[in-house]
Subunit: 334 residues, 2 copies
């Protein structure tokens, strides 16, 4: 198993990708890593890792596609970037997976135009695992496709189903459609047209899921267009922060509560860990012909190692193959 | 000042509307209320209110438009419902405002077809005040219009601006557009087309607001189509509940935290109150020719009284007139 790591992407590059790679190599003895970036920067960072150094292949990738440029132009022109080199290596099966904490747009564009879609998939989608306190749900799409057709959403359900089966080991994941009401006739034009198509889809469609139930463990896969999915993702982050901030402020506002808050610190630490989505890795890019994981831009070394672990599980769980099987099942005459 | 109260709508009718009316009458000495519903049901509930009884006019409205029927058909056929009678009385200036905790669809349809839109307004919108820990922001639209055109969103900003000026006393409310990125070029087709129009609108447009900043006090009015707005509204409710549930569970999980939680109870009580949106009343229906407030279906008496207070402030704050002025300012040649 060989994972390609973009060592130059993300807020904490190159330290976080390098540290994450070392942590992952120590955790997975069969893992090999192709570490791509500016060799002059990377080599000094690999001084104290004799135990795993033999399983690292350095890849010269001096160019970086930043957040401030057109991703499509970037993957077209920056052929010496980790994104382009990695996606091509993945396409040619020189590596088994790809992980980057760099520009989301570049990973998307690289996946679309350098690696390529799974034949039959209309639009690849980003699908992070989100915590709900009890476990996780997969939110698909969270921003790759802001304007969607019903057919895209039906396929998002298919891809989410494949991930939850292959990686999370669920036998029959519940797939829900995020909507503003539970009844079939509710929603905007997009979801109203999607509902009857999902009823025919080869997965366990459990119907509409109202936003108030998103964190209520009523579905394992929650489907939305990329605009609404991104709203949910970012609002979850923002609101959780606002709420915990308010709680902290009120706890500090009177002496008894302050003492109580100090005593309850272990509980708050557990809550923070439960709601910390960096623990589960990053967002897989589903629908492309390989295991691609977009780690959070703010990933530290450990979060990056989790993202590498996620890519490994995607390969071992045959996510791409399950999607292909479902596509075949959905189009029996094709 | 006379407010029309639908006494038969909501989960706790007729008790909550009647109790709320009595509370409001005791709070506002100049208030008069037209209390509409089944007289046989209502009369026994008015036994112990001699202090305010003279300011209550009972209105016979034996029909109810329920959540389970077509709202448009309901307001067309059920002419003896509180919704139809109240909207017509508001139109004829027999009353100054209308409050109901009943079917949202019926209030919308009644506002559209029995009361009527403000000339020039494309689509009335529902706009609840939402807590962010520091104060409140107005979320518009939260479900009246699930499929929108850019022009509707521009007017939502206008109506939200009018409410925050007239009712909340803000001089120059900040109007933001909910989006998945801060930059002008971000978003789906709808918000991308809306942005340049909002830049030309006669209010203080502060640009896109990312979902992670919705509760960050960066805007006083947050504009979205009714589908996304409803997602935000309901997800806020659901996620806050999930988070507080997780915190409670973790606090009960070890002895020290349990003790800490008990000591910090006053803080948690304050948090709950800060995030309790029933305290601010209901959602005004903006864009119709009168002060209409849709109280929460689950309103208790106090929440209903708050909704009546909100209708009073809408009348006193000249919200309808401010919207008319802004429409005139936006169309100087009309």
């Amino acid at each position: 198993m060989r994972i390609f790591v973009d060592a130059m992407g993300g807020d904490n590059a190159p330290q976080a990708p390098v540290e994450g790679s070392l942590e992952a190599l120590r955790k997975y003895p069969a893992l090999e890593i192709s570490l791509a970036g500016d060799l002059e920067v990377l080599e000094p960072l690999l001084k104290d890792c004799d135990d795993v150094r033999s399983r690292i292949t350095l890849v010269d990738a001096p160019e970086v596609i930043t957040n401030n440029e057109s991703p499509v132009m970037g993957v077209r022109t920056k052929k010496q970037s980790a994104t382009v080199i990695g996606m091509l290596q993945l396409k040619e099966k020189q590596v088994d997976g790809f992980v980057s904490a760099g520009s989301t747009g570049a990973t998307l564009a690289g996946g679309m135009f350098r690696l390529g879609r799974i034949p039959g998939i209309e639009r690849p989608a980003l699908a992070p695992l989100m915590p709900n306190g009890k476990g996780h749900f997969l939110l698909i799409d969270c921003g790759a496709n802001v304007d969607c057709k019903p057919e895209y959403l039906v396929q998002f359900g298919m891809m989410g189903n494949a991930y939850m089966r292959g990686v999370m080991g669920l036998e029959n994941p519940r797939v829900g459609l995020i909507n503003i009401g539970a009844e079939e006739e509710k929603g905007n034009a997009l979801v109203k047209a999607t509902y009857p198509l999902m009823e025919q889809a080869p997965y366990n469609f459990v119907g509409n899921v109202e936003a108030r139930d998103i964190t209520g463990d009523v579905a394992d896969v929650l489907v939305a267009d990329g605009f609404c999915g991104n709203l949910v993702l970012k609002f979850m982050e923002g609101l959780a922060g606002t709420l915990l901030g308010i709680i902290k402020k009120e706890i500090m506002a009177d002496t008894l509560s302050k003492l109580g808050g100090a005593l309850a610190k272990p509980a708050f630490r557990r809550v923070k860990k439960l709601m910390d989505y960096t623990e589960v890795g990053g967002a897989p890019l589903l629908g492309v012909q390989g295991a691609v994981v977009k780690a959070h831009g703010s990933s530290n070394g450990h979060a990056f190692a989790c993202a590498i672990g996620q890519a490994i599980r995607m390969v071992e769980g045959n996510v791409v193959q399950i999607i292909e099987q479902q596509l075949a099942a959905a189009q029996p005459d094709a």
